[in-house]
C-alpha cells in the first residue's frame, strides 16, 4: 500500500492502507485530533486497493479489503473513498472484534451512565446521538457499542458520525460550529455526510460508562412508547450484534447481564424534536 493512515478510536487501533492519496488525506484531516494506536500496533488492518491494476487510472474504484473479507463488498467510486474507508473499518470491527460484545447501536453518556439506541437502518440512531451531543451529552459512538463481558460496561467507539439524507441539514442546524466532512452524494444509501465528534467525545473516549437505558427508536410514526421485557430485548440485541455467536459463552454472559440489569423501551417518534423530548423524559424518570 502506497499511503498509510493509523488511528485509535476508543480501544481499537486501525491501520488503513490505500493505493490512493485522496482517501488517506481525508482521513488524516477528519481524524486529526485522534491518537495513534497504542505502541503503534493496530488491532485491524484495512486495505483500499484497486479493483484492477489499470483501474487506478481508468474509472478508479475502491475495493474493500482487510484481515477479514466479505466477498460481496462492492467496489465504490473513488469519490466515495472516505466512505469506503469508514465502511471497511466497520467491516473489520464487525467481523473481527473478539474482546467486546459488539452491538449495532449509537451510545451517548451523561453522569457516567450510558444510553444505548439501536434499531434498523433509518431508525435515526446516528441522528439522535448527534442531537443529544448538541444538548451536552457525551457522544460515545454512532455505530457500535462495545460491551465489556468482564465488567458489563460500555466502551466508546466515537468514529465519524455517518449522517444520511434528511438528517444532514437537521444536525448541521443543531451543531453550527461542528466540523463536517464533504457531502458524498449518490451512495447506495443516498447522500452521506460525516460529522466529526466534538473535542469532549475524543478526549474522553477511554472512559467507559455503565449502561442505564436501552432504546429501540423508530422514526416516522405517531409518538408511542412501550416497555420491553428482557427476553424480547435479548432477541433483538442478538440480532443487533455482529459477534454474539462468535463470542460463545462470554457473549451469552454479557448479554444476559445487560438485559437483566438495564431497562429498555421501544419509542416511535414523528420528528427529531419529539424524540429528544421523549429521551430526556425517560432519562429523568430512571
Amino acid at each position: 500500500m502506497r499511503h498509510v493512515f493509523q488511528v485509535r478510536i476508543g480501544p481499537v487501533g486501525f491501520r488503513v492502507g490505500s493505493d490512493w492519496r485522496a482517501p488517506v488525506a481525508r482521513l488524516e484531516d477528519l481524524y486529526a485530533a485522534y491518537p495513534r494506536p497504542e505502541d503503534g500496533i493496530p488491532d485491524f488492518t484495512v486495505r483500499l486497493f484497486a479493483a484492477r491494476p489499470w483501474r487506478r487510472w481508468l474509472r478508479p474504484s475502491v475495493t474493500l479489503g482487510g484481515d477479514f473479507v466479505l466477498p460481496e463488498a462492492a467496489p465504490l467510486p473513488l469519490s466515495q473513498g472516505l466512505l469506503a474507508a469508514e465502511m471497511a473499518m466497520n467491516l473489520q470491527m464487525a467481523l473481527g472484534q473478539r474482546r467486546y460484545l459488539l452491538l449495532h447501536a449509537s451510545t451517548v453518556e451523561r453522569d457516567g451512565r450510558a444510553l444505548l439506541m439501536t434499531g434498523l437502518s433509518g431508525a435515526g440512531k446516528s441522528t439522535l446521538a448527534a442531537l443529544l451531543a448538541a444538548r451536552g451529552w457525551r457522544l460515545m459512538g454512532d455505530e457500535f457499542a462495545l460491551v465489556d463481558p468482564e465488567t458489563g460496561r460500555v466502551h466508546a467507539f466515537p468514529r465519524l458520525v455517518s449522517l444520511k439524507n434528511g438528517a444532514i441539514p437537521i444536525v448541521r442546524a443543531a451543531l453550527p460550529d461542528a466540523r463536517f466532512g464533504p457531502l458524498i452524494a449518490g451512495t447506495p444509501k443516498g447522500d452521506i455526510r460525516h460529522l466529526v465528534p466534538d473535542a469532549a467525545a475524543i478526549a474522553r473516549m477511554d472512559q467507559p460508562a455503565e449502561p442505564a437505558l436501552i432504546l429501540f427508536p423508530r422514526f416516522g410514526f405517531a409518538p408511542a412508547r412501550r416497555p420491553l421485557g428482557p427476553s424480547e430485548v435479548f432477541v433483538r440485541l442478538t440480532q443487533a450484534s455482529t459477534n454474539y455467536v462468535a463470542l460463545g459463552e462470554r457473549g451469552f454472559d454479557a448479554l444476559t447481564r445487560l438485559v437483566r440489569e438495564v431497562p429498555a423501551r421501544a419509542i416511535d417518534y414523528p420528528d427529531a424534536e419529539a424524540a429528544i423530548a421523549e429521551v430526556e423524559a425517560l432519562w429523568a424518570g430512571l
Partner: protein, 91 residues
C-alpha cells in the same frame, strides 16, 4: 420393549437463565442459545435429577407444577422439541 428413558444433558453442559416468561438456555457443547418457555425449563429441571420415562416425567410435572390438564401427547411434543434442540437425549 422397555420404555424409552429421557436424559438431560450433563449439568455442566448447560447455562440456564430465567428472564421472564422465557428462559435462556446456553448449550456449551454447541455454543447455541435457546429461548424456551414452560414447560421446557421444568422438564430440564426434573431430568437434571436423573433420567425418567415419559410417564414418570408427566407424573412428576403434575405433582410439582399443578398441571391443570396433564396431556401425554403435549408432553411428547415438548420432549421431541427438546430432543431436536439437543437439550435432551432419548435412549
Amino acid at each position: 420393549m422397555a420404555e424409552r428413558l429421557f436424559h438431560a444433558e450433563p449439568a455442566e453442559a448447560l447455562r440456564i437463565v430465567p428472564l421472564d416468561d422465557f428462559t435462556l438456555v446456553f448449550h456449551r457443547p454447541s455454543g447455541l442459545t435457546h429461548l424456551v418457555t414452560a414447560p421446557a425449563p421444568e422438564i430440564l429441571a426434573i431430568l437434571a435429577g436423573g433420567p425418567r420415562t415419559r410417564d414418570a416425567l408427566l407424573q412428576r410435572l403434575a405433582e410439582a407444577y399443578d398441571l391443570a390438564d396433564p396431556s401425554p401427547e403435549a408432553l411428547d411434543a415438548r420432549l421431541a422439541e427438546l430432543v431436536a434442540a439437543g437439550l435432551v437425549r432419548a435412549a
